[in-house]
């Protein structure tokens, strides 16, 4: 593409505002390679945990009208092998990469951060969307103001890299959570993770389609939820937001920007439109800018804040 969608994210110049979302295309360096070759401006690794995880038994994906359910189960080869892949990617590329890590408590998040510090990653993303139950009300990690604040604060104290907090949409008040992350020093937010979760049933065999029974919703149909939460959060915080959730076409990306996202994550659309989806959306964003007379990405207006 000779057309340019250059912008910057947390002080780093990027060639496209499109981010490969965590977990999509996995953790292999070659998955990152093919994404940037196809136009991604930033890539994110699969969320890495201290120990390797095999993930859930299949079926792990199920499709429905407008979206996808998944219950991958955070399969990953563990932080050590995962960072090797990141380093291998960075050997041949200067496209920024976000190391996503996942844990269920501060101590483990700190251990993961020490590992990432030694890698060639550019940013550290804390996947706080832990579905584990922290009290009898089933409140996820990302729904506890204190947990989010404490984890981000602790990680910030030791992280060599800017810290991004990834938030779950399945909370009552994402704005307070976002503010808790911001006040703890988060450099950026990433939202939203998958919605729900949901379930589908095989009516012939009378069984849940996913072996894990439940899986998170992603894809086109979660876009309205993402836009709303990003807009509310954008109205209340001053750190940049990686906006994601259902972005499939250039128009969706523009909506994300207008809702307040600084850059735009693309996940499930890799399934809908192929790995070429990044270049396709780049092209569509460019066309939109031409048609509507926006000179560069920063000229695209945002909604008035709430």
């Amino acid at each position: 593409m000779q057309k340019s969608l250059k912008t910057e994210f947390l002080g780093r110049p990027i060639t496209s505002p499109l981010v490969l979302s965590a977990g999509v295309m996995g953790m292999a360096f070659s998955g990152f390679n093919i994404s940037i070759e196809n136009g991604a401006g930033i890539v994110t690794s699969k969320s890495l945990t201290l120990e390797p995880r095999m993930g859930h038994k299949g079926p792990v994906v199920a499709e429905f009208e407008g979206g996808l359910l998944n219950c991958m189960g955070l399969c990953n080869p563990g932080i050590v092998d995962g960072l090797t892949e990141i380093d291998q990617f960075k050997k041949c590329s200067d496209i920024p990469i976000i190391a996503s890590v996942f844990a269920t408590n501060t101590i483990d998040f700190l251990k993961l951060t020490s590992h990432v510090n030694k890698s060639k990653a550019d940013f550290l993303e804390l996947n706080l969307s832990c579905p584990n139950v922290f009290d009898e009300f089933g409140i996820p990690l990302a729904a506890s103001l204190e947990e989010v604040h404490n984890i981000v604060k602790a990680v910030k104290q030791i992280s060599k890299f800017p810290v991004i907090a990834k938030l779950s949409p399945n909370v009552y008040d994402i704005v307070s959570i976002a503010k808790a992350a911001e006040s703890a020093g988060a450099d950026a937010l990433c939202m939203i993770n998958t919605v729900g979760p949901g379930m589908l049933i095989d009516t012939k065999m009378v069984k849940p389609v996913l072996f894990n029974k439940f899986g998170g919703l992603s894809g086109s149909c979660i876009k309205p939820i993402a836009l709303k939460l990003i807009y509310q959060t954008y109205s209340a915080v001053n750190i940049p937001i990686i906006g994601m959730g259902g972005v499939t076409y250039g128009e969706d990306a523009i909506e994300m920007l207008m809702a307040g996202a600084a850059v735009i994550g693309v996940g499930t659309a890799v399934h809908y439109r192929g790995i070429e989806v990044f270049n396709k959306i780049n092209e569509e964003i460019f066309e939109f800018m031409e048609e509507n007379g926006y000179k560069d990405l920063n000229n695209i207006p945002r909604l008035e804040k709430l």
Partner: protein, 260 residues
């Protein structure tokens, strides 16, 4: 994602002690080389190549290896399973003189492919390899087709003695083929690659698959990031030559590398 369909097993044929062919009455519309994902909703959903596909029905031929395939082997005709697909790339259909080199449970997909090749007017030779006689499959099935078959076992208990690669090397040196196709153990294909430098070819690969729709990244092959479930499982020479992991390592369900 192709719509999931839950369907009764129409027929089960025991090919060997640990290989069975399952046939389903369903118009799948698959191309040779493609695969389906199959589950019984009891834990596990696994890729299997299509070993036959007509307007009315299709088959997969499965080797019992671990938990999932063992459970599958306990199913009876009339039991339900659930499938989605067909997925992935398919073999280029040549009209000329072609050599098929297959090993083990990966041979039956050549039954489906050979029929399509014949329809296209190709001149087909098949090397059907296995370790030993009781593991050798589909010999009777291939006889029905108008192709040249060379059966081979490592121990010589059925057909010629040797590896499929040995035989391939031998007949390539005697005869000229326009295109070569391989489906079998990766190390067999790796060895084959070394002996067929000047012939154009396609290989059918296997990698650990989870989503089969190109999104989870579990099946990407280094270093170009081909997703084997979308851009594969059939890869042309051009792409095979780029693979740094070919014959070296593959990844497990966690993404961890394992040497062959």
């Amino acid at each position: 994602m192709e719509k999931r369909i839950t369907i009764k097993i129409d027929r089960i044929v025991e090919e060997t002690n640990d290989i069975k062919t399952f046939t389903f009455k369903h118009t799948l519309g698959a191309k040779p080389g493609q695969f389906i994902m199959l589950t019984d909703f009891e834990g596990g959903e696994k890729p299997f190549s299509i070993s036959n596909c007509t307007k009315e029905e299709f088959s997969v031929t499965v080797k019992r290896i671990g938990e999932f395939t063992t459970r599958l082997f306990q199913k009876c005709e009339g039991d339900y399973v659930s499938i989605r697909g067909a997925y992935g790339s398919s073999f280029f259909v040549s009209k000329n003189k072609v050599l098929l080199v297959g090993g083990g449970y990966a041979v039956p997909t050549f039954y489906f492919f050979a029929k399509v090749l014949l329809e296209a007017g190709a001149d087909v030779t098949l090397i059907n390899g296995a370790r030993t006689k009781i593991e050798h499959v589909f010999a009777d099935r291939f006889i029905e087709l108008d192709i040249k078959v060379l059966n081979v076992t490592d121990d010589g208990s059925f057909g010629e003695k040797g590896t499929a690669v040995d035989i391939a090397q031998k007949i390539i040196s005697k005869d000229k083929f326009d295109f070569l196709y391989a489906s079998g153990p990766e190390l067999m294909m790796k060895a084959l690659q070394n002996v067929i430098k000047d012939i154009d070819y396609e290989f059918l690969f296997e990698r650990y698959m989870k989503c089969a729709i190109g999104i989870c990244g579990n099946c990407t092959m280094d270093p170009i990031g081909l997703r084997l479930c979308v851009e594969g499982p059939v890869l042309p020479k051009k792409k095979v030559e780029l693979l740094t992991e070919f014959g070296k390592y593959h990844r497990d369900a966690s993404g961890k590398r394992h040497e062959f």
